[in-house]
Symmetry: none
Subunit: 201 residues, 4 copies
């Protein structure tokens, strides 16, 4: 017990990620300089470059770590039939997954212009787009697409823009999920045949 037995070669890499994440969230990606990260950590800028190839690479590592729940969710969803029940479950799970992944989505959300031409920006956007694509899968009427979009936005944006709503984060999550599922309930199930075809893509 106590003092981590085998590790401790150097936890600097993780400390960098943690510090960088905090700063990226609180000050923005572009406005956080490597100097700041280094100073906060009590190391030199060069030390950051020993552990990461570029500034973007730091964000990439963070994204890989924190984004895992959503990535796994995508894997799961792509194996399911594109039924309404799947979509409901996907929305539920997405709501939960966002809980832990929130910081990176927050960063994506607030730094879109900056991340526009960074590879990592594309990666981040892809995750969101994929969830969205899976939710819209199947042969839906235009108005139904709107309902789906509303449901997804409610869960997605609700996760990091509604601190003012009151209650705990978990209470907010549940309440918003409820509303989103309710909105989704108004969607007429797509024709299973065409749904299968579209879902296979």
């Amino acid at each position: 017990m106590g003092s981590t037995p085998q590790a401790r070669r150097s936890d600097t890499r993780e400390r960098i990620q943690k510090t960088a994440l905090d700063l990226f969230v609180s000050r923005g990606y572009e406005k956080t300089s490597l100097r700041e990260i280094a100073e906060e950590l009590g190391v030199t800028k060069a030390a950051l470059y020993y552990h990461f190839k570029t500034k973007e690479d730091i964000l990439s590592a963070i994204s890989r770590d924190l984004g895992r729940p959503v990535d796994e969710l995508i894997v799961w969803a792509e194996e399911q039939p594109p039924t309404m029940e799947t979509k409901r479950e996907l929305l539920r799970r997405y709501s939960v997954a966002l809980g832990s992944a929130m910081p990176i989505y927050h960063i994506l959300q607030e730094n879109q212009a900056t991340l526009r031409d960074l590879a990592i920006g594309q990666e981040l956007r892809d995750r969101v787009t994929t969830i969205s694509r899976l939710m819209h899968a199947g042969d839906l009427a235009f108005e139904c697409h709107a309902r789906v979009a509303s449901a997804v936005m409610t869960v997605h944006f609700g996760a990091f823009t509604l601190d003012a709503l009151g209650g705990t984060a978990e209470e907010r999550r549940e309440a918003l999920l409820e509303v989103a599922l309710d909105t989704l309930a108004g969607v007429r199930a797509p024709d299973p045949a065409s749904a299968l075809a579209a879902g296979g893509n």
Copy 2:
């Protein structure tokens, strides 16, 4: 003493605003340098400083011009009683107002981190917050606040993140508004008395 009496001294100021807006939208606020704006316009950087005090000042001017519809909407809404009917109408009008004001909201949306500590950023956020506050006014149950939030997010974020939904911008707007109003329909009317108190804040 011709057609345009006092004006026409030079339309440079407006041209700057227009060019800056385009660049702020397409490349982001931070990533757009004054050099770029100047070059695109065929003037020197110093010329920009003749017309505007700072870079932020350019964005301020843009915000004032484009944000007027929403500002007027806020003035209107603050004079109304905080009934559900008012909220429905507010949502409808907000949906419309966003149509023309979209570019600045888009800029706010994609550059939040950058605008965080700029006065103009606060101004922009205030407009959104105020609309939101007006929509949430009254003594609502927690779950009802969630519905309101969902409705607002659907209209707000739907305006600049759903190009992929297909249809024309106007079709998307109407469809999303419909869904939002539907979501709002589930809200139990607040107690008028307490509503007045809360709405005054």
Copy 3:
């Protein structure tokens, strides 16, 4: 008389070129930092960037200015028939031209590795290569090509590597030119017919 009448808007650009040239020659291109150039001139690094787009651009400007005599020589030579007499005259003129252009060739000579992948490096090498090509033009026997190469190298490298030979720069130039012409004298004139064909390229 005195104090340059019309100019004097700012001779900074030229002063930068002059200072940079001195430093590039004495310390090498890579080892001369923009900070050094700026400090030597009593301006900031940013001032250099007002006048030149990049560090390489400074060298480019120097090269354009100093290389003019050789460029003009090339233009002249390409209009002449590729006879031995032309080549003798070309060698004489090249010897003279090198006198003023020497500093850039010196820079090229001593910084080849650095300039290898810079556009300006290619430009500089092209000038040398072109002179060489013109001297080798025509249908010469292999041993004659060797003589030509020897003559060119004698004039070219002699210009900036033989300070130790004694005498004034002009005396050295003449003596080396004499030897080079003598070496060239051993070249059997190429068949005029094929010479014309080859020279046209």
Copy 4:
């Protein structure tokens, strides 16, 4: 007690030299970083520092190994009387020696500016200067010095700048040596007495 008794501890030192040489030749001394060398070899930078004290030390070792033929040639030449026959033979042998030593001279040639203030740079230049001094030894007329210089330059620079001349490296070497010897033939033998005096220096 097999074939290689004491050696074979590790050939890393030699592998470093070989890799470094390749990179110094192809990318230049300054532009080749220790990181590159280490990566190419699959070891860490620190490993390089186990075998060599500094970056310059690597080049020194290479220079010692590859420069041996020229060093031996110098020893030989300093024991000979400074006759024209000696000089002819020296030129012949130098031409041959350059064949194997070429890479370091190539490095010297292309990185002069960089090597200017390195001890190894001086060493490298010394070898060239010494050959040159031995060739110029004796009481020659100014014009004769010019002939000697031309001959030396033809052999020296011809070795690494004339790939374009066609033929094999050996054919080029022979042809250029022939021209150089021919140029040397025009030198009037120095007064043996003064030659001895001058040659002793």
